[in-house]
């Protein structure tokens, strides 16, 4: 087997998909798992049978893991609160993510620890989404007591991807609306992980630097590209980029992770550290960057792949892109098997897989190397990468969003190199502002100019005839 991890991951994914669509009980799958393990012990000597049984075991593991996520603990809030009983609840717990303030409203994920119903106080668990109808300065880990009505998320959305399912996949089962500041009490205790708190503090600092040197709109775009923070991107800009198929540049992805790994390696090289220490420190920086950017699916994928490649380099082994990609998928799906049905997960992996599989074949087929001009080769290569990613994600986008965007291939030829430049200059701006603040303003001007250029090109491309079509 050339890509063993990839095959095991496919088997694991099939197990998850099977259980999602077939009605099979947990204990039935558990019995099958025990049987499979016994067979595995007996089949150790038989190579092919053993391989087949390992694949089956992975299949069952996937099925079992998904089934397990459906069972909530006895003290989970979903089990304690009745369906739409419209009652006021008092909850104690702590904030589980970085609160967002938008339009004079604050929202965050709240990890419940205690539920109070009339005079009864009971231990509770689970996550809820809290919407405060007013701005409030809160931070990750802050311990709070909240009062308000709990309701289940609405089931709006298209083609099976409802908002409710989206929240359920994140482990969020209720939404609480807190209308008055009197209904929230800060307990002045921080219960979050210290490392995450520090990373989020650093994220705030970086956001502050970006906002200091750029105008609001370019700052919003750069914050999305460098930190994955999309709250300041106007809807019009976002929708325009969706139409041109270039919205992927507004999320932190493999490229950003690559830039961090490269920059760290370079910085450590300058101070002449030995290779082993350099690689280990670069891997640690990748993990920190993953936390800073909120550990979304594309970042986790890129981080796991990056760490895999770094360690292959450390142990002087040839890194295999399929195995690295499979390791990333397996890591995410073991943590939360429901992510398999998340559109973001599908888009992230489909695009990378498509580029990895399709691009080299197209390149060979079209014999690009015969061209003498390096610029022409670069243009053709960019076109093929863009085309591969577009083909890979076309079906998912059509099914989920009903959008067909032929202009994507053309748009990406201009937008992706520009986005690369912006990301690089964005990272340079942040580093310069921290080390040499005097020179940072000039970097800010260039970055701002590049972002303006990107927005103008995008607006132009979207206006082309047959650029996009909603189906």
């Amino acid at each position: 087997m050339t890509h063993p991890l990839a095959i095991l991951t496919i088997s694991y994914c099939l197990g998850i998909a099977f259980v999602n669509y077939a009605r099979v009980g947990f204990w039935f799958i558990f019995s099958a798992a025990i049987l499979m393990l016994i067979l595995l012990i007996f089949a150790r000597g038989k190579k092919h049978v053993f391989c087949f049984l390992v694949l089956m075991a992975c299949f069952i593991f996937g099925a079992l893991n998904l089934k397990n996520t459906y069972f909530l603990p006895g003290n989970h809030i979903f089990r304690q609160v009745g369906y739409q009983d419209n009652m006021f609840y008092n909850l104690k717990g702590f904030i589980a993510n970085q609160p967002e303030i938008n339009n004079e409203k604050t929202s965050f994920i709240f990890r419940v620890q205690e539920l109070q119903e009339r005079d009864l106080s009971i231990k509770s668990s689970g996550k809820i989404l809290v919407n405060l109808g007013f701005p409030r300065s809160l931070a990750y880990g802050d311990s709070l007591r909240l009062s308000g009505k709990l309701r289940r998320p609405m089931k709006f959305g298209s083609r099976g991807n409802s908002y409710r399912n989206y929240l359920y996949n994140q482990g969020v089962y209720f939404i609480m609306q807190v209308k008055s500041p009197l209904e929230i009490t800060e307990l002045h205790v921080n219960q979050g992980y210290a490392l995450v708190s520090k990373c989020l503090w650093l994220r705030d600092r970086i956001e502050g630097i970006i906002a200091q040197y750029l105008a609001p709109l370019p700052a919003g775009i750069l914050a999305a590209m460098v930190l994955g923070e999309r709250k300041n991107i106007p809807r019009l800009v976002n929708n325009s980029m969706v139409k041109s198929g270039t919205v992927h540049i507004l999320v932190v992805s493999g490229f950003n992770v690559g830039v961090v790994a490269f920059s760290m390696n370079l910085l450590l090289k300058i101070i002449r550290l030995p290779r082993k220490i350099r690689v280990i420190l670069a891997a640690i920086c990748l993990l920190l960057y993953c936390l800073i950017t909120g550990a979304s699916n594309p970042v986790v994928r890129a981080t796991v792949m990056g760490v895999f490649i770094l360690f292959a380099y450390l142990f002087q082994r040839q890194p295999d892109i399929y195995n690295s990609l499979a390791a990333a998928a397996l890591f995410i799906l073991i943590m939360n098997p429901r992510q398999l049905f998340d559109v973001g997960f599908a888009l992230s992996f489909a695009s990378v897989l498509s580029i990895v599989c399709l691009y080299p074949r197209l390149r060979l087929l079209l014999r690009i190397q015969r061209y003498k001009s390096r610029i022409l080769i670069f243009v053709f290569e960019s076109l093929l990468v863009s085309f591969s990613a577009w083909i890979g994600t076309l079906g998912i986008i059509l099914y989920n969003f009903g959008l067909f965007t032929p202009v994507t291939v053309l748009a990406n030829i201009f937008i992706v190199p520009l986005a690369t430049l912006i990301t690089l200059s964005g990272f340079s701006l942040v580093l310069c502002a921290a080390l040499f603040p005097a020179s940072a303003s000039y970097l800010g001007v260039t970055t701002s100019f590049l972002i303006t250029l990107l927005l103008k090109i995008n607006a132009l491309v979207v206006k082309l005839p047959f650029a996009y079509r909603y189906i």
């Binding site: 339009n103 004079e104 105008a215 709109l217 370019p218 106007p234 809807r235 019009l236 800009v237 929708n239 325009s240 370079l266 090289k269 300058i270 690089l424 200059s425 340079s428 310069c432 020179s439 303003s441 000039y442 970097l443 800010g444 001007v445 260039t446 970055t447 701002s448 100019f449 972002i451 303006t452 927005l455 103008k456 607006a459």
Partner: protein, 109 residues
């Protein structure tokens, strides 16, 4: 003089290009209003002019429903151009919550 590797040289050149371009752009923006306008993000890219926007543009933005777009334009035809964005609140069906969302979409020239 400097014992730099290939990558280090590339990084230094890149940073210098960024800084020098920044200085040039800054100088040009100070000297000419046209350049300054070119360097700034046009308001029309992130928002729509509430007094000139058409029904097709509103629908095409995918930010508001067809019905609401039609209501806003009907109100504009009936009452004339908006003097301030707060005027949106006078339209039937636009409360504080919806207005908070709409004000991010429009600008007034």
């Amino acid at each position: 003089m400097f014992n730099l590797t290939k990558e280090e040289k590339r990084v230094i050149v890149f940073l210098l290009i960024l800084a020098i371009s920044g200085v040039c752009l800054n100088r040009m923006a100070k000297a000419s209003a046209k350049v300054e306008k070119f360097l700034a993000v046009p308001a029309g890219l992130a928002k729509m002019n509430i007094n000139t926007v058409t029904l097709d543009e509103l629908i095409d933005s995918r930010c508001i429903s067809r019905k609401l777009a039609q209501t806003i334009l009907d109100y504009r035809t009936l009452h004339g151009d908006f003097n301030c964005l707060e005027g949106l609140k006078d339209i039937k069906g636009i409360g504080k919550h919806r207005y908070d969302k709409l004000k991010e979409l429009f600008y007034l020239e």
